[in-house]
Symmetry: D2
Subunit: 264 residues, 4 copies
């Protein structure tokens, strides 16, 4: 079970144009700083936040309790010109969890409801689950960065992103762009073959080779650290395929063993 | 002529994994704060920055001279664990300008070249041109936000984004996501009909109605402010079509007249 | 026992003038942002940081373990152009604790030692103690703000600050300015009479009336929250003297009872 | 004539305790980030801001016009949970300028007046003057940092600061602490002898040797850069006294010549 928190700025759209449209560079600075702060605040407790739409964000929050969420909510209220609502949910898959969380949030009222402020709720329950994250990148991206134009590279990455999103959704996995040629996919329940199949499709359609480190851990940070190590192993050719799966040893659950890239 | 600055973090990829992969929440906080700061710093001179890939950013910088760029470059060096390179170029279209800028940057060496640091150059010339920006959004997005799941909404927006990118590129216009359901498109040379045609295609393919305020001004800020006003006019039904084109009165160039949405 | 962490930027002085003196506004932005981030990061675990000299900071860290310190140290390394060293110490008084921490840090080498990087150590031990904080302010400061010049007000506050520092040190308490007319004093071991005596001296010398809420709690946040409540009680005239002492009920230690301003 | 801007957060005190006292670590993060941002925003135009009381700040703003102030004011409104008021004034001395600015601000109402928001005014006029800044530090501070406790060092610096403030005020110069053992003093009208006399007094009373680079320039940045260079010259023993005075060549005013530390 993965734990997801859906975060929504309260009544943000109307605020951005009241009394008249606010300067775009200020809004960009504001939104990206909120995202930065949320990563510091959730990151302090081993969570990980994705900017998604900037006014609606998705965080992986296994191991983070309700009172910590409340403290983060207060922190934003104390320093920003707006407030945020948050709903936490757990699910077998990331898609299911965020869907549950969203539904509970929607029950409290519209994103534009002036009277809906600082919702904080749990859709089902906070349980001790695990997080599986794939850190995906594009092979030899620098050769493209050094030859194509900045925008053409950007467009290529957006094409890869959308195709990955569509394919991963079939497995109820999510996908987020995290900069450069890097994507992070919360993907509880998927296996190596699933990724190899998807990478095949991407190659056939878009002619880019992908690779992924996949980590499984008790928290988003544990999982993403293992995913990073997996990716480094592929880069260092310590693994001879394009996916490397690493699991954290769980003391509490002796059936979890750290498997290094398929080699016990 | 629009003036574009291509910004690239020097040797960033290797830094993120040296000596071992750095914590993802820290990197997200770092990158988004860089983006925030660049918007404050360029915004102080009426420029506008788009995060693009976060390690490669694109800014509209009409009216911003080389010495100001140098001061911004120093500012980043003085506060961040890395440096940035920047090349400025002008073009009839945004695509052309960013391409020229990228080519000049690439001549200085690879994005991963350890010895290439703090490039600052002008590809062709700094001229007094104008900026045309379209601020595009999706009609009734809140009805979707309030009913679909957070991720499904996000995916829809990514679908609209990619289709807009592909279509706008045919006109050598760029497109960037700026949060919520909002896109900004530097689009010098395009007219209302071009946008109406593209919006038609988006509706036929994805079933979303789009609208756009389009502003023309001496700087990115002037243009985007006018684009915002145009969008507000459509929302307020002061205009009965889905595009509203506003031009800044240029004192220096009396042929520019502020046209309010086609009504002289 | 209060737990104090002494934080020092590694080799900062030389960095600020290499290769030539860096722009002062950038350094001010850098230092104050470091301070801001340290408060977010320690604050996420109920700690509280004071900027002190900006390159040497003092934090109250009861309840924050070594691994959390290490994560904060990595966080700064991952986002700043320098690293920080930290030593934790406990003491009966805040002065004693910071002295012990400093001594251990000094054993590792000079603040300007190029080879001393990211020290992280515990001078004595991490124990379950308590924090006592006084939140002191000046009566009717707004009447001064609204009549004297900005600098004259500032100078008055600096005079009060230095006198408070000298007097509190006799009790091995520390004092930090936290903005406006507000001071925070970690003051384990002091009682109401001690403060009333000091406030008398300040009034006789400088003609300002002071008041203080004093809180005792398991963490810096608990203590400072109670101190704030105490101050509000004085302002609301719920208490008829210039000091209000509040103690957190400690479940673990039934001898601690919340005393409301001397009234059981 | 030096140009000073007095900046005041509107109705800040009441906000910090409404509906109940806000978490201190959040307020510290908020205030220091405001200070950081103001330095970036004014710094983009060669100004320099001092945090002073954090809710009342003093900036040197020669060369920065009213419209730029207005843009900065909007920027803060667009990203912070409060607004700021600003008044600009020019004076023969920094003290006189800040006094004039404060008086005009006070005419608009109290710092706690709920209805006084976003004042922006000019007390007398914006003129082309010059800025004189002294950058003062303490000799051999590292030897103290490496032997005394962190707090004892901090206290010493506060003692030096207050004495400097009292002495400089006799010359209508201001003094601000800028971190480490560094002070910045806007000091239009003072000469080398004045500083040597003050440093003598500080040595006799507190037993610390001080030195200062003094810069004169058209903007705060120009002046502080020259002050930094002066300080480096003293450190490098290129100058054999404890004050080094450097003036920017003013093209517009040929009577200004760059004098290097008294040697024409």
């Amino acid at each position: 079970m993965i734990q997801i928190t859906v975060i929504q700025i309260d009544n943000y759209g109307p605020w951005t144009v009241t009394p008249k449209p606010r300067r775009e560079s200020d809004l960009q600075a504001l939104q990206s700083r909120l995202y930065s702060d949320l990563n510091l605040l959730f990151g302090a407790h081993k969570g990980l936040v994705f900017y998604t739409r900037f006014d609606n964000l998705i965080a992986i929050t296994n191991g983070i309790d309700l009172i910590t969420h409340k403290r983060i909510q207060e922190n934003i209220r104390n320093r920003y010109p707006f407030t945020i609502s948050m709903v936490i949910a757990s699910g077998e898959t990331p898609y299911e969890a965020q869907k549950l969380a969203t539904e509970t949030l929607q029950e409290y009222g519209s994103a534009k409801d002036e009277n809906r402020r600082e919702v904080l709720d749990v859709a089902n329950e906070l349980i001790d689950g695990y997080v599986q994250i794939a850190h995906i990148d594009i092979n030899n991206i620098t050769s493209y960065t050094d030859t194509l134009s900045t925008y053409d590279n950007y467009l290529n990455i957006k094409r890869v992103q959308l195709l990955l999103m569509e394919e991963l959704l079939k497995h109820e996995a999510l996908l987020f762009f995290v900069g450069g040629d890097n994507f992070m996919s919360p993907c509880n329940g998927m296996n190596e073959e699933d990724f190899l199949d998807i990478f095949d499709k991407v190659y056939k359609k878009l002619n880019f080779h992908l690779k992924a480190g996949i980590g499984v851990g008790k928290t988003a940070e544990d999982a993403s650290n293992l995913a990073d190590i997996g990716l480094e192993k592929i880069r260092a050719r310590e693994v001879n395929k394009s996916v490397c799966f690493l699991k954290q040893d769980f003391i509490e659950n002796p059936t979890f063993k750290r498997k290094i890239c398929g080699v016990e």
